[in-house]
């Protein structure tokens, strides 16, 4: 038990957690034909369940998962895994059929028509009744996780957002509010709406496949699984008092001391490398950061268009490709900034608090 706890606690440092999560995700995408076999799905589900059952022996872990707020997250872990497996299973079957020159399974039943009543309404009605019953039972059995009365002068510690916003709250740790709260969520919404205009590839229309469009599906799932679901899990199990990182089996000590002195890029450059004072003019002071950001958004796309994404660039044309790349770079900025914060305590690349402008 102690070994089990210390093993998982040692994996729970943010860098390691994110790397492992990303690695598992990539592995899943690479080996989806094997990992979505029913035996594997059941096996992995049992392994996760076993983790929770063993973990629940630990008092601190039990307190986390038994909280009414966090139950949806335990359910979510299974639900996301099963939905993913279902989709990837069908994709795996289709991909193998297509390799053999057969049409996808969906082509076989495309002529079959169903009636709204009773074929659609009836199952919907049954689901409604079932879910209502489940929610009523849940609502009676589990106490609402109420806290002390709200007060304008005191915040609970840790102050956690509702579970579905924990990813957003985690983003706020790394970016200025106007970026993490306005620009990036805006890009997520607009980007999702723009998908049909950017992605005009007709393959995969009406049937499941992964092999025919690994980039599109992989990128979408990376954003959803690695940058959202994993952050929700992290916010639930690894964030404790004072918003410090804790292992899942660690006592939430509000006095845990973590040396987190953050440094801006300008301080790295001027004070650390140049051995001078910070220049007074904010534009000169932040020039290295500004140049870096410009390079990130101008030179990277050009480089990508010339090298690994050359095919995309030619197929999509300049406008589509630019929008795609801006969205991708925006998405990639989150893990990059997170890793920089965790490894070298980088605070802001561009820090101009005088003008409320920090990146």
């Amino acid at each position: 038990m102690a070994l089990f706890e210390s093993f998982f606690n040692s994996l729970a440092s943010p860098e390691l957690y994110t790397l492992i999560f990303t690695g598992v995700f990539l592995l899943y995408c690479a080996r989806y034909r094997l990992l979505t076999r029913p035996g594997w799905v059941v096996g992995i589900s049992l392994a996760i369940a076993l983790f929770f059952i063993i973990g629940a022996q630990n008092h601190d872990f039990m307190t986390i998962i038994a909280k009414g707020d966090n139950m949806p997250i335990v359910i979510m872990i299974f639900a996301v895994f099963w939905c993913l497996s279902l989709a990837f299973r069908q994709a795996a079957v289709n991909d193998m059929r297509i390799e053999k020159g057969e049409p996808p399974t969906e082509a076989l039943d495309s002529n079959k028509k169903v009636l709204v009543w009773p074929d659609l309404i009836y199952p919907e009605f049954v689901c409604t009744v079932l879910l209502t019953a489940i929610f009523i039972a849940w609502g009676i059995a589990v106490e609402a996780p109420l806290e002390e009365p709200a007060s304008g002068t005191r915040a609970p510690n840790p102050a956690k957002a509702p579970w579905y916003f924990l990813g957003l709250q985690e983003m706020l740790v790394y970016f200025d509010p106007w970026l993490a709260g306005v620009v990036l969520p805006g890009m997520i919404v607009v980007g999702l709406m723009a998908i049909p205009y950017i992605d005009t590839n007709p393959r995969g229309n009406g049937y499941f496949t992964f092999k025919e469009r690994p980039f599109a599906i992989g990128m979408f799932l990376f954003g959803f699984i690695v940058l959202w679901v994993s952050l929700v899990i992290m916010g639930t199990f690894l964030r404790g008092p004072n918003w410090n990182f804790f292992g899942p089996f660690e006592y939430w000590d509000p006095h845990k001391i973590e040396p987190l002195v953050n440094v801006n890029l300008s301080e790295f450059i001027w004070v650390g490398m140049g051995n001078t004072r910070l220049p007074d003019n904010p534009l000169i002071r932040e020039a290295p950061g500004i140049l870096l950001i410009l390079a990130y958004f101008v030179i990277t796309p050009a480089l990508l268009a010339k090298t690994i994404l050359k095919k995309f660039f030619h197929e999509m044309g300049f406008a589509r490709f630019s929008i795609l790349i801006m969205l991708l770079l925006g998405m990639a900025s989150l893990p990059i900034k997170m890793l920089l914060r965790w490894t070298i305590n980088l605070k802001y690349v561009v820090a101009i608090p005088e003008w409320f402008f920090n990146i």
Binding site: A155, W243, N244
Partner: protein
């Protein structure tokens, strides 16, 4: 044949002699205009709610006891009522110079997104529970995402020798306002 007859009939039904197409559009315009005008009046009525008749708020400026009732360090007695920490130092918290002993009033609003940080006496820092920003006793931000230090409020002596804190005035470090004598009370 039957369909064309039916559509013929429909056209006559939809286009009776009384209302011409133009007249109909005019009616629609007037109708929508009235509706939108009414909606805007309602909206204006809602704006009225932004200015309540009575406000149950502590006064912006308040007396905060005599200086000698404070020990060195952070004092939380006005945190919950007035949203201010009073800090007493024996050295200049910025330069560390021992010359200036004095007091200043720190706002309890985190400069990141406005949560209320906690004073951790053992670690000598303010720590925000929302995204982990940390501030030194001087109010300087040094960890987490907060982009600037905590704000200070005007602090002075009242006529009776008590400390007077005025929250309507704020002094921000990044604007170079902490050198303002009203942001720091020498004792």
């Amino acid at each position: 044949m039957a369909t064309s007859e039916a559509s013929q009939k429909q056209i006559t039904v939809m286009n009776p002699d009384k209302v011409s197409r133009r007249g109909f559009l005019g009616n629609v315009l007037v109708g929508w205009g009235l509706f939108l005008a009414g909606a805007h009046v309602g909206l204006l009525g809602c704006v009225r709610f932004l200015f309540p008749n009575v406000l149950f708020e502590p006064p912006q400026s308040f007396k905060a006891d005599l200086p000698n009732t404070y020990a060195e360090g952070v004092d939380e007695r006005f945190k919950n009522t007035n949203g201010v920490w009073l800090v007493k130092t024996v050295s200049d918290p910025l330069s560390g110079r021992p010359a200036d002993a004095g007091m200043f009033a720190l706002s309890t609003t985190c400069t990141h997104l406005g949560c209320i940080p906690n004073w951790l006496a053992a670690d000598l820092k303010f720590k925000c529970p929302c995204h982990g920003s940390g501030f030194r006793m001087s109010g300087m931000n040094f960890e987490g995402p907060a982009p600037r230090p905590l704000e200070r409020h005007r602090i002075a002596f009242a006529d009776d020798g008590q400390i007077l804190v005025d929250k309507s005035q704020k002094y921000q470090w990044e604007k170079g306002q902490w050198i303002n004598p009203e942001s720091f009370l020498k004792i």
